[in-house]
């Protein structure tokens, strides 16, 4: 069961989603997304571009944020819009905690809508992928 509009209030947190990517998951993502840039699976290549190690794909973190929102709203709700900025790097084998807070609750064109601020958090507390979503709820 997903979130109901009547039960949502501004300022409330949505349930967290914790991720921790293995290098295997990054390879799986490369296949699923079609992004085969070597900085995400070839250590030597990544270091050659000046990175400290291979890094997690930004679009995978976008996918995590999509799951965060989907798991919260369920299949009676719909994502109208969502996006994020890739501000900081995340490394494999480190926690990536996806979080969200409701920022606005309103009705528009007969639809019950909610805006949420969403982000991924690295172990040191950096918000590496800040974003937002607008969802329609039952």
């Amino acid at each position: 069961m997903g979130a109901k509009w009547a039960d949502v209030s501004v300022g409330m947190s949505i349930p967290e989603l914790k991720k921790n990517c293995s290098t295997q998951q990054l390879v799986l993502w490369a296949a699923g997304s079609g992004d085969f840039y070597q900085i995400h699976y070839d250590q030597d290549f990544a270091k050659g571009t000046g990175l400290p190690s291979i890094i997690v794909h930004g679009a995978l973190k976008n996918g995590f944020l999509g799951q965060l929102v989907h798991d919260w709203i369920g299949n009676e709700g719909r994502i109208k819009k969502y996006g994020c900025s890739y501000r900081g790097m995340d490394m494999p084998n480190q926690d990536i905690v996806c979080k969200g807070v409701v920022t606005k609750k309103y009705e528009e064109n007969g639809e019950k809508l909610v805006d949420v601020e969403i982000w991924t958090e690295a172990p040191d507390g950096r918000k590496t992928t800040p974003g937002y979503a607008t969802v329609k709820l039952p």
Partner: protein, 164 residues
Amino acid sequence: MAEAEKTPLITPEMKAQIGVEGHPTTLEVDKTMIRLFARAVGHTDQVYYDEAAAKAAGYRSLPCPPGYLGTPIFNPAGGGRRGPAEMGPGPQPSRPLRRVLNGGTEIEYFDDICAGDVLTATSHLANLEETAGSLGEMLITTNKTVYKRDGKVVAISTGTGIRY
């Protein structure tokens, strides 16, 4: 640095590309790719894996997980692997920039997109900006892609690329 600032990175040829629509790309949405994408993210909702669960939840077939907008048809004989944005390098900045970062993504949805759908995507360069930041001089490129199914817009994605 002061001298370098006199010559913009963005050339008139680059500016002329703003708003010019690229060639349409066909994207297929199929069950296998939806399952692979959902598995790569780590989705646990059965609607992304089990067609009966998807239909019970009101979808026509497996729905696209957030962030997935179909897969361009790969053909080694020609065409881009990832769609129109990568079909060609296009006009280049006045000074070479070696590195690329994905700056951000936004997707706006207008309908469910499900397995079996065939989408036509058309991209255009929406904006160019140059700034100087911690990474040195940066070129920020915004691309928009409009996804249609049977002529109806089902999603619009906006991607920001950073070159430095």
